[in-house]
Amino acid sequence: MAATTRTVTDLSSTTKDGVGSSPRRPDGTLKVTGEFAYSSDMWMEDMLWGATLRSPHPHARIHGIDITAALKVPGVQAVLTHEDVPGAKRYGLEHQDQPVLAFDKVRYKGEAVAIVAADHPETARRAMERIKVDYEVLEPISDSRRAALDPDCPLVHDKGELPEHPELNQSGNRLRYQPIRTGAFVDVATSKEGQEQALERLRAEADAVVTTEYEVGMQDQAFLGPESGMAIPAEDGGVDLYVATQWLHVDQRQIAPALGLPQEKVRLTLAGVGGAFGAREDLSMQIHACMLALHTGKPVKFVYNREESFYGHVHRHPAKMRYEHGAKADGTLLYATAEIIVDGGAYASATPAVVGVASSLGIGPYEVPNVLVDAYGVYTTNPPCGAMRGFGAVQACFGYESQMDKLAQKLGMHPVDLRIKNAMAQGSRIITGQEIDMPLPMAEMLERCRDLPMPVERAELEDPSDQRTLPGGVAGTTRGEGVVRGVGYGVGLKNLCFSEGFDDYSTARVRLEIVAGEPVVLVHTAAAEVGQGLVTVKGQIARTELGVEKVVIAPSDTQVGSAGSSSASRQSYMTGGAVRTACASVRAEVFESARAKGLVPAGIEDTELTLEGGKVVSATAGVLVSLADLLGESAEGGTVVEHTREYHHRPTEMIDPELGQGASHTQFGMCVHRAVVDVDVELGLVKVVALDAVQDVGKVLHPQQLAGQIQGGSAQGLGLALMEEIQVKDGQIRNPSFTDYLIPTILDTPPMRIDVLERPDPHSPYGLRGAGEPPTLSSTPAIVAAVRDATKRPLTHAPVRPEDIVGIDL
């Protein structure tokens, strides 16, 4: 990487709309006016419609599939089953365990069994009704605790079917078992008896002990644009796929083997993405559309409807957790234990990595000398679970933060004081032994959060009888009766970028040329714009680094190297880092060119040169040459400066399978929330009055988009606290619709005061810290704590249900 005179905190640049400002999104106007083409809007003259026949059973053996009648439906062009998969019959994000189309068995309700291409979606539906599948229904395996701990539990995948990963401690239905042991638990790492004795000694030393079981429900990412895309067969025997996804190259890596094609014959272009939040990290219709397109020789379009979408993507892992914390009378934490079981459902998806996060961050950002964590990710015949914003850290955070509140109450301490007493800071080691080698101003953040102005009391409102200010809202259930206010705090620690030895690099191609007398920069990456605003940030970085106002963002596709996933809060860091690195190479070549033409006075180093306002500028000698003069008009044979660069973060390692030790994380992020709620304690309804946050983001790249991330993450956490849960009973989803799966409306979403800190991380580009996930961790426990404060109920299930508040057992 070429040297630069800029430090992370000094980004002063004369170029408009660079890093640190809030330029408009290039796709903003189109989106606001409804003209933006989402993946479901694609259309071609001769295209066919794809449809998916799904299993009605959570667990069944398939004895036969008869497609004869379906093929006879006029307008049907193809009906394909597992027998028609040209290549590998299984795929997967980390483990190749998921059938492209079911064979032998189905393992969750909604699993894809057959696909149809027809001239009209209605024709395809008619044909699907005529496919006869001979199922032998099996008992569902629904209880994740049993799957984790009962050796006699029936297996979801038969022995020998699974790829072997000894480092994950696999056995039975366990996809991964990750223990973590520190302090007194190291010497008794695997001895249950020894652990119990160590625990007894610690309990005897503690002045306060709190033990609780918690549950986190299955949350849906609830993106608004359902799974969709179009596959177009190509003349070279390959296929071009336009799809809404989070990571083009990982899709390509899974699609090509299933089609029996080399990677280069499967070309992907990002179509308009209507939100992702992790749900698009796994494949949905990608292979199916390509199979049908290659089979029929025609473009094939898939669009899931909302109900199908609930079966068509992975969800947040529901978790069953048991925590115990012991502390001295002054609040000093002595020990903590956690058993965390996350339900991975029928297929692995990201479950092993989720267990890696849930275990390593299982006790949160607190100094605890003795820790025992057992984290399990299991197979069941429930809907598959995988990536969702917060990725295992959300579930653990609800557990350890609830514990901190309970402990504070028991010790008679303010919940913020207890947290500050045990707060980690730069130089602390998390329970895996990894040092936090970047700023972590946790105590200060907690103090700042506590000191934020409180919202006005109900009685001081301009109109306290305004239904919109009351729990229950416009449904008019109270005029103030039964309404009690509560306050709660939450803090969460999140790993940012991929962990555990994964090299999730990104690639950027940056081209500088002169068009119509003006310097123009083209930035080309494969990074998925999923709504977060990376398209804006890429342009800002190019402007800041190259001093050129006009930046064009090329469509994201596989014609350039991988950018990694738009997840783990990593794209500003990784693709931002790649764009910045490529820009530095372009800049270095420009300086070299100027030097070769004798335009740089002797004795002036590159570090003293900058690109500003389309000119090469020296701090001492002023403007040396304009880019237009230096490079010449591109169309007339002028110089085009183009560089493609990869950016890698520092390497990480797997934590070991016995003690869970190792530097597994790239970066840490933190957010602190204070929630103020009004609860109708008689009806169990909640109005969140305020949800204020303090977050350290290292460096703000785009203030407006950052606010959007923090507000959005907080609102998604609010949903998990109060209403969002996919209810699964015996493997069946009871609420696969937005009628019954509730996400917060604007009336549920309070004003949010946001206090942003910028303490740069010395390891990251510009010192930035991924910002998208941390607020999703801390807002849930803060809100539930506030509801506890108002109701004095234990509230161990997220989301809190009205029944929990009024004290009805479910």
């Binding site: 449904a475 259930t477 009806l683 209403m723 609420n735 009805i808």
Partner: protein
């Protein structure tokens, strides 16, 4: 599927008569969902949006006549004084977009026990006008709901209007949802006091296969209420009223809430609705005096 667009009521009734398995459609907020989910495939859709009579409202003797196709937004804007319970219920229907399209006629046609309009119609003893090529008839809301999604509507009839008695006392509506807007009722309750006839009306939603009345609660309150002065009621009376409302409910456990919670919530809403009514009643009599 045929798509019929009658422009007069006579044409509409003829179309209905000719297509007994056709489905009338107004705002489409229920019907289109069912079609999209492939839950029904009628031979014909009878679009009633062009029939003028259905979208009109106004006074008619001691009643307000509300066309079956008047959207909720219009009810909120125009009938808050003349049909307070129905207007309050209309305000809680879904989102502004849905309120611009959805109608009471559609609520009655679909007859979902969760429909917001039903409890106010029951509580206020409204009548429903049904028409066919054979003529018109009126059915009390209290006789309209027969069993789950089955009503007194005959297969050649259209719902043309709702006749709402002019209010003579306080009317309330409240609905439980687990978010603060745009939510289907977990359960709902409406209360209307008819001070002229000294009658109490109740309506309960989402707590049984059909919208329900709590008749024992009505009779109890008719006897206990101080119709002369509207004196505040004893706490035991208020509590008993709540219990009787909850006792009338026959709720199930489902994804929206448990049976026990629905009963609990109904008793709370009933108590509150009663105390608000007492307050409103006293305000009303103070004003009259």
């Amino acid at each position: 599927m045929e798509f019929l667009r009658p422009s007069t009521l006579v044409e509409a009734l003829e179309a209905r008569s000719a297509h007994p398995d056709g489905v009338p459609i107004m705002g489409g907020t229920d019907v289109m969902v069912e079609l999209n989910f492939d839950k029904r495939r009628p031979s014909a859709l009878i679009d009633l949006t062009r029939v003028p009579e259905l979208t009109e409202w106004g006074g008619e003797g001691d009643h307000i006549r509300l066309g079956a196709g008047v959207p909720y937004t219009k009810i909120i804007e125009n009938l808050s004084a003349n049909a307070p319970a129905l207007a309050k219920a209309s305000r809680t229907v879904a989102s502004p977009q849905i309120r611009n399209r959805g109608t009471v006629g559609g609520n009655l046609g679909g007859a979902s026990p969760a429909g917001e309009a039903h409890p106010p119609l029951l509580a206020t003893d409204a009548e429903i006008e049904l028409a066919s090529v054979r003529g018109r008839r009126r059915v009390r809301a209290r006789d309209f709901y027969l069993s789950l999604r089955t009503t007194a509507l005959r297969e050649d009839e259209l719902i043309t209007a709702i006749l709402l008695p002019r209010p003579t006392g306080p009317q309330q509506f409240a609905k439980i949802g687990t978010r603060n807007a745009m939510v289907i009722a977990v359960t709902s309750f409406s209360l209307a006091l008819d001070t002229e006839n000294r009658k109490v009306g109740t309506g309960v939603g989402s707590a049984g296969p059909t919208p329900l009345r709590a008749e024992a609660a009505e009779e109890f309150l008719e006897a206990e209420f101080d119709w002369e002065n509207g004196r505040p009621l004893q706490e035991t009376v208020v509590r008993r009223f709540g219990e009787l409302v909850a006792a009338a409910a026959r709720p199930i456990d489902d994804q929206r809430g448990s049976s026990e919670y629905r009963k609990h919530a109904l008793s709370v809403m009933a108590r509150r609705a009663l105390s608000w009514s007492v307050t409103d009643y006293r305000k009303g009599s103070t004003r009259c005096a």
